[in-house]
Chain length 581, copies 2
């Protein structure tokens, strides 16, 4: 490809609405162009990267037995009403009416449609397992689209849906998809982690996220450097940091802590480590009558070590809190504790409260907590002696760096990541509600066991840049680069030698199937190099008269500090060797 | 590819709502699956054909200098309001509101968005010409979707938009796209014609349709077998069939024609050829005031030879009728002609009427027309002698087979066709209204000259089938077939020899880049052959123990009457030779 036959558009400055580095660089390098909030034109340079992502995904999905089809963007509401998602989903589900006033949605995913296909087409156990996927435009009407195409409204996703005879088959399919995803991300050339994940609203029993490692990632990924353990912090198990409870050594003392309303302030005042304090979080749950009015509320006290933070996902799994919870109101707090926040604790409650202690908290001795009296804290508190054992002990905190790994194989570390893939074992969640059955060997109908497997095609482009960039621009891994090699001739229009050498190298690399770009725009060298560094092409060859006189060209990898002089006659073979290897 | 790793689903009967053969066969062969009115899942077999169409289109567009990008499916209404199409277009434009109640549309085409890109990105004459294209999902909310994916609501289209400095440049681009389209349709292996076409609502000055020839086509294509002339019947020029007017030979006679209200009946009654009669069509135009009320109506009488039919497109180009016309009401007819329809003519009008004669009509002598009196016609009518010359002479009829070609190179023939491609020279229609200018060499802004170029990717699949099918199913040209070769082993699971031979042939063809399918489903031969004939795979190889004993396999082309016995050891080379050639 020659630049004059392509479209290159770079900017010195990123638009002011670009918050993150990938968005800024994609705008500056001319990969995308904003059409509306969260809606982008994929410009020629950006589309090439998207196509590379798609091609790798497609190849590995096919290799793993996936069968590609294409389900529509605009889908009739009926199927979505059948699963209840038409009503349950919020405004992120884009609803639209046709000329006959019939309801449709613009697909955010395709569970309903694919399950409808499966219940009609997959009638016998002989047809199972089957794994259908498509790579299609999706729409989610995000309340606040941001980060360019990392959280856009219109985006491209690969979504696959598997149908198995039974849970054992579904588990095998899940494992095969897990392996396929690893191959996909390996081929991308990105640093990533597959982490155990919460199954969230989509339900099901088993789930992994594929996270591209990036400091700017929104997710915290917990992993154990000395074992295979890896999980999203939402899910990562926090074990007790105290194997057993030490005997009480201190007396209970109501200690003045004037104006010290946080654990950190109290610890500092008392000259104690923060890990000796306990923080009190007050939640509430409501029972509703049929009309939706509150008939009864329950107040919950969650106790965490002062240096730990609550994990809402874990709290939401506690019996009694599963159906939803809220923070207690000030009135509820004063009513139950007789004090305002900042000085709360589990001793001397005015009204009954459900006390949930974190696994570490329950083994602490001689600890500090609020005295339910403004400007006072208890010190030397001990379970059993000073207050009853907690109603419930549970893992309710986020792990922190240095925590023991739950597999007992070392200590945990934490990285930031961007979720770009997610695989779920769905079980019969959709097949039951949509009556997707097949006939088994005995002619009996059984529900299909399903899994679903997503990859955010356009999001990967953003995530790859978040991970791979420097002050000059993007640094593509070979597999995702819009062009793998750029040839920068100095004086293409002036020197017949330069033109001949550049054209010959271009033609030879292109014939070898390498995505090569010859910059024939006639830009000055500085501007030309800056463009291609911004765009992030991984391999650059500069051809000049001066070099050719000595039989040399200059090669520079995008991460190299400086160019290397190489024999002009050997450069094609050298690049072909490297890029095919 | 082996059948067990793919998804094959054939039906004995087509669903009752399938009206045309391509729709029936696509449903029966499992290419598509209906999701809603005019909305289809593209099943794995069908998607393979779509991808082949896309690949050919993409290669030839790139070769012709097109640059691929991707514009969104969901587009903000603002740009569509800028051109006025948001309000002007009917309900076929799918409108949708987002969570903030902002207006969007689901794109039927992308003139607005691409012109918006061009006016921002193409600022200098140095950047022109540029031809952007995308292959993207489109939506048109058709009042009556039908014919499967030939006239669906959601469909895939390749639409390209070119930007040139001036009309001369735009004409060159148009020619290059015309040539690219010819290469594309040649590569498809379909019988087609490029025909001059009316520019219709999209406007502009020059337009060609690419029509796939099929008896079931909705369009009539006029062409001259002995020259290059070809046009849609909407546009095809009808020359006068009479070089000059012969002198009057008969007297004007008011002749009783009781109950004979059509030209055919009158001609039969009088023993005259139909070509001696003239039919009268009465139209009306209205002048409206600012409130939209009719202030004045004009009645028009169009005269056509009895065996000719009116061409509405041509009539709509006549000065005075351009702004729109309607058929006259019965009251208007009786008011102006003093007779009811069936006996109307240009002689003895009660009120002034604009008379438009077809080019042939004006040179007729001694003709027959209605007498404006029930049950009477005039015979022996002659211009000048019996009535004044017409107010206007114009080409207002459809050509018929045997008419002289307007290029003077022979006579016209007519075929039916399905429009699958359409190229337009748009001029500055969009660039002016959207102020898409560039700076020329003198630094002066000028409007870009545009063209647009569409190919109905999914429609081509239907059109190809309309053209290529027989009683057993689809007959794909090699280039579009979902699989080029199918290997049908007899006893794949029972015979190690058959399995080994089938696997080896499969692997060798696949390694050669040929799309080969090995049917390992274990179906009976009859059912297996019927499936692949329905699906339309062009080349079939049957491998059986009986054949292998003699070193033979059976080859049958999809159009062949019978199978040919071929050496088993030579079949791979034979197929590779044929399919690469």
């Amino acid at each position: 490809m020659k630049a004059s036959q392509f479209f290159i558009s770079t900017l010195k400055e990123a638009p002011s609405d670009a918050e993150v580095v990938s968005h800024k660089l994609m705008m500056r390098a001319g990969f995308i162009k904003r059409l509306g909030a969260g809606i982008y034109n994929y410009m020629p340079m950006g589309l090439r990267v998207i196509r590379k992502v798609e091609a790798i995904v497609r190849e590995e999905m096919n290799r793993a037995g996936g069968v590609e089809l294409l389900m529509p963007v605009v889908q009739p509401a009926e199927l979505w009403q059948e699963t209840g998602r038409f009503d349950k989903m919020g405004p992120e589900l884009m609803r639209v009416k046709d000329r006959h006033d019939r309801d449709f949605i613009i697909q955010p995913t395709s569970e309903e449609v694919v399950t409808d296909i499966a219940r009609q087409e997959l009638r016998s156990y002989k047809q199972l397992p089957k794994n259908f996927y498509h790579i299609q435009t999706k729409f989610r009407d995000e309340r606040r689209p941001r980060f360019g195409i990392m959280r856009g409204r219109e985006f491209t996703m690969k979504d696959a849906y598997s149908f198995d005879r039974d849970a054992a088959g579904a588990a095998k399919t899940y494992e095969a998809m897990f392996a396929a995803y690893k191959r996909i991300f390996d081929r991308f050339g990105l640093e990533y982690r597959a982490v155990a994940a919460d199954t969230g609203a989509i339900g099901g029993d088993l789930s992994h996220e594929f996270q591209v490692i990036a400091e700017t990632g929104e997710d915290a990924i917990v992993y154990c450097p000395t074992s295979d353990y890896a999980a999203n912090i939402e899910l990562a198990e926090a074990v007790s940091l105290l194997a057993e409870r030490a005997p009480a050594a201190q007396a209970l003392v109501n200690t003045p802590t004037p104006g010290k309303a946080t654990c950190a302030d109290v610890a500092q005042l008392l000259g104690l480590p923060l890990s000796r304090t306990i923080k009190s979080l007050v939640l509430a749950t409501d029972e509703l009558d049929e009309a939706g009015d509150i008939v009864k509320s329950t107040v919950w006290l969650l106790l965490l070590r002062g240096d730990h933070s609550m994990n809402e996902i874990k709290v939401g799994k506690i019996e009694g809190l599963k159906a939803g919870f809220r923070f207690a109101t000030l009135a509820e707090i004063e009513d139950h504790f007789g004090s305002k926040p900042g000085y709360l604790g589990p001793i001397g409650l005015k009204k009954p409260v459900k006390v949930v202690a974190d696994r570490t908290v329950v083994n602490m001795s001689d600890w500090v907590c609020g005295a339910n009296l403004e400007d006072f804290h208890y010190t030397g508190v001990n379970w059993g002696r000073d207050l009853p054992e907690p109603d419930l002990v549970a893992d309710i905190r986020n792990v922190v760096e240095g925590d023991p790994s739950p597999d007992g194989q070392g200590v945990l570390a934490i990285q930031r990541g961007i979720e770009v893939g997610h695989i779920f074992y769905l079980g019969t969640k959709y097949s039951k509600v949509m009556n997707a059955t097949f006939l088994d060997e005995n002619g009996k109908p059984a529900f299909m066991e399903m899994g679903c497997y997503g990859i955010g095609v356009t999001r990967i482009v953003g995530a790859a840049i978040e991970q791979n960039h420097d002050a000059r621009g993007i640094v593509w891994p070979d597999a995702l680069a819009p062009f793998t090699v750029v040839i920068c001739p100095i004086g293409y229009d002036r020197s017949a030698d330069v033109k001949a050498a550049a054209d010959a190298l271009h033609d030879e690399l292109q014939a070898a199937g390498i995505d090569v770009m010859l910059d024939d725009r006639g830009e000055r060298p500085g501007a030309m190099f800056a463009d291609w560094e911004l765009i992030g092409v991984p391999h650059r060859v500069v051809i000049s008269d001066r070099g050719l006189k000595e039989g040399k060209v200059e090669y520079q990898g995008r991460r190299d500090e400086a160019a290397t002089s190489m024999a002009a006659c050997g450069i094609a073979a050298e690049l072909k060797g490297r890029l095919r290897g």
